[in-house]
């Protein structure tokens, strides 16, 4: 901060020297940009920075059943968490969930986008269909899917029975719980990913494909050599956003499984919710949030460091 201020004052000194005699204009040029930033910055300070630092503060305390701070315990919450098998399980489940959802939702939406980008009749109908999940809130989607997965009257098991597949305990079996919530999450993500990817596809100039065709490249090769590189900025963006979203998935899990069966879908965000708003141990929950923040920060930095190099910007 100190360095920044010294440079700042030096620069303004320079400016002052050159524009001597026009202090008002100078003042305006200096201050005006910050005034524009002020609304956004004050919102950030009130709703993001203040809660963030408060969260760090609370994470150092033991909290009472009514939410009040009761005793300073330093980093004990963090140590307890990192030694707790339940929390480590949550970390594991979270990564499992990210790996199950992000690649699939991107691949499926990419394939759908490529098809919807073809020059065929009724493509706008398909586009609308594929983008439909976007308009459904995750809460209502979860309720609908819970019914579809229902162990006794669910439609999915009924459908599977025609193929001779025995009933699956989608939401009651430890092996399938995470699969069920992943399916719903992938489906929910499709709409948004589809729209971004379709937009990206439409920005790729047609002549690239035409010249490739003349050179004798088949459709598959065209997509690998032209579509993917040209689409890489969009793909990169979608990946980053999807990963962050997957880490934060809450609504679907809260409604469909409540973290069960046996914690097999208890992702970090859900366990934060449990500890904060069910067990009312804000200290522990705050420590969990900070750990999640650090993980997300590291991941995002890594992605920008490694992923961005492969992205082709025109």
């Amino acid at each position: 901060m100190y360095r920044i201020e010294t440079i700042h004052s030096k620069e303004s000194y320079k400016v002052k020297r050159h524009t001597l005699g026009m202090p008002l204009k100078n003042f305006k040029a200096e201050i005006e940009p910050y005034l524009y930033l002020l609304p956004a910055a004050s919102i950030f300070i009130a709703f993001t920075f203040y809660p963030f630092f408060k969260t760090i503060y609370i994470s150092l305390f033991m909290t009472g059943p009514q939410g009040g701070l009761s005793k300073f315990i330093g980093l004990k919450n963090y140590f307890d968490l990192l030694a707790s098998p339940d929390f480590l399980n949550s970390l594991y489940v979270t990564f499992e969930f990210v790996l199950l959802t992000v690649p699939f939702s991107i691949i499926i939406s990419l394939v759908l986008a490529i098809f919807a980008n073809l020059d065929i009749k009724g493509k706008s109908v398909f586009r609308t269909f594929y983008a439909l999940p976007i308009s459904i809130s995750s809460a209502s989607a979860a309720v609908i899917w819970t019914l579809l997965f229902n162990p006794s009257i669910g439609f999915i098991n009924y459908l599977l029975s025609f193929f001779g597949i025995p009933a699956i305990g989608w939401l009651t079996d430890v092996k399938w719980g995470i699969v069920a919530v992943s399916i719903v999450t992938i489906w929910l993500n499709l709409g948004m990913n589809f729209i971004f990817l379709l937009g990206g596809l439409q920005n790729i100039p047609k002549d690239l494909y035409e010249s490739a065709q003349i050179d004798g490249a088949n459709v598959f090769l065209q997509h690998v050599k032209i579509t993917i590189p040209m689409l890489s900025p969009t793909l990169f963006f979608v990946t980053v956003v999807d990963i962050i979203n997957a880490f934060q998935q809450f609504g679907v899990i809260n409604i469909m499984t409540q973290g069960g069966p046996v914690d097999s879908t208890n992702v970090i965000v859900y366990s934060i919710y449990r500890d904060a708003f069910f067990n009312f141990r804000f200290g522990v929950a705050s420590a969990e949030s900070i750990i999640l923040f650090v993980i997300l920060l590291i991941l995002t930095v890594l992605q920008f460091k490694t992923g961005e190099r492969r992205v082709f910007y025109r």
Binding site: F49, F52, M62, S70, P151, Q248
Partner: protein, 461 residues
């Protein structure tokens, strides 16, 4: 200058990232705004009080009717009933609202929230009004008074009270060659009957399970009491504040072992934690017997319709204990000290109305919760109602045959909601072959005891 600009943009980017995870933290800052009006000082003023409850579906409809009737008959008081989600959600909203003292005047809190509510210091014990007014509580069910009396004070007024009972499909009993008038009395009979009731199709797929129960911690607590065993130490937390739970003994293991045995044998279906999922399985004919609250009776009867005949029986026994029985479930009404005595008095008027025999009769008929006052049984309407729907009798008889002791009074623990969930996880673990009964219960015990220790420490008692 450039660095300064960078610092700002960095901060904004950082802010976005924090916002990404911060959404779950900032929630607690937002206190629920409640509709409170300032009282006017004229003589014929109307006192407006808010009432939070957790009654959805057909229960909520019945409750709203009662509130409406109260408002019509009491021109000086206006009760505004607000549905706040299920019991857990409601209690958590209350905790959040009370941080800024913006809770309601009356709140319906479930049985297991009792210890927390007493410790919170937010409640005015209804005992205060009972003493002031010499209100007669001799007609109230003694089991209810035993449950809700803490440290010799009746803190809250029992309102909707239930116990678990066995529901069974009489038609399926007849088809399997069983006597439809004798439901199984213990788990040996459940197993025996269940095997006969089990139906499979040609491919070996089960079309009708013999028995089921949702993985619901409440049932575990009930089966402990049915065996006359304690859930927590210090007399279930009634002789002195409980410092630990003790359910990993023989009684606790007995419950989980039976449960697992039935599931492993294929007699019992596992429809997960969702209470309604098992209930729907029964109404859809997928299971011939199941355990549920008496309060679900109306819902079950409506759901089944004319498809088959429904019978009800006592909660099946796990041993031959004579001191065992059922614990009162459901919820009670708490008067909060959020506002002045004037409002608390109005709240008390409302509570008296809600437990009056006429209202309790209406409530019982429309839900299945049994009446909290014995005066209802003298009413001719009640007699004709029980003749028409004999299934309602089971709950009442089960209640009256339950002795009052530490086991059947139920446990008082500050972290009971959390304890219940931990037990559910332990049962799931065993059913899914992830741990033995002993391991799972020991682990649950350890985690709950830690929570209890933390709780007792932070409330400074």
């Amino acid at each position: 200058m450039i660095i300064f600009k960078r610092a700002i943009s960095l901060m904004l980017i950082l802010g976005l990232l924090i916002a990404a995870i911060g959404c779950s933290n900032s929630q607690k800052q937002t206190a629920t705004a409640s509709t409170q009006s300032t009282p006017t000082s004229s003589q014929d003023k109307v006192i407006e009080i808010t009432f939070w409850h957790a009654m959805g579906g057909n229960l909520g409809a019945a409750l709203n009717k009662m509130v409406e009737n109260f408002n019509k008959t009491h021109p000086n008081i206006k009760v505004i009933a607000q549905f706040q989600g299920n019991y857990d959600e409601e209690l958590n909203k209350l905790r959040t609202a009370q941080q800024s003292k913006s809770g309601p005047d009356i709140v319906q809190v479930y049985d297991i929230g009792t210890r927390f509510m007493v410790d919170s210091g937010w409640a005015v014990p209804v005992q205060k009004f009972i003493d002031e007014e010499k209100y007669d509580i001799s007609k109230l069910e003694p089991n209810l008074l035993a449950y809700y009396t803490v440290e010799n004070k009746l803190y809250s007024m029992p309102f909707n009270s239930s116990t678990p009972i066995l529901y069974y499909n009489k038609t399926a009993f007849k088809d399997a060659g069983l006597n439809p008038d004798t439901p199984p009395k213990n788990f040996e009979e459940i197993e025996q009957y269940g095997k006969k009731l089990l139906k499979k199709d040609a491919s070996g797929k089960v079309t009708q399970y013999g028995y089921s129960m949702a993985i619901y911690g409440w049932f575990f607590e009930q089966f402990m009491a049915k065996q006359g065993a304690l859930y927590a130490n210090n007399g279930n937390g009634r002789d002195a504040r409980a410092t630990a739970v003790v359910f990993n003994d023989e009684a606790g293991q007995n419950i989980v072992n039976w449960w697992k045995k039935l599931v492993d044998e294929g007699v019992a279906g596992n429809f997960g934690r969702g209470y309604d999922d098992t209930l729907n399985a029964f109404t859809a004919g997928r299971t011939a017997m199941f355990i549920a609250s008496t309060a679900s009776l109306k819902q079950v009867l409506d759901g089944v319709g004319n498809k088959f005949e429904v019978g009800t029986g006592f909660l099946p026994a796990l041993n031959d204990s004579k001191d065992g029985g059922v614990i009162i479930g459901g919820a009670s009404l708490w008067i909060l000290n959020t506002r002045s005595e004037e409002y608390q008095k109005a709240a008390w008027e409302f509570i008296k109305y809600m437990v009056s025999p006429e209202q309790q009769l209406f409530w019982h008929q429309n839900t299945g919760y049994f009446p909290v006052t014995k005066a209802v049984y003298d009413m001719p309407e009640m007699k004709s109602h029980l003749e028409k729907y004999p299934q309602f009798k089971t709950a009442i008889e089960q209640l009256h045959s339950t002795p009052i002791n530490r086991a059947t009074q139920g446990a008082l623990i500050g972290v009971f909601p959390e304890a219940r969930q931990t037990v559910e996880k332990a049962i799931e673990k065993v059913l899914q072959n992830q741990a033995t009964t002993k391991q799972a219960l020991d682990e649950a015990l350890k985690s709950i005891n830690k929570a209890i220790e933390n709780y007792n420490q932070t409330i400074g008692k």
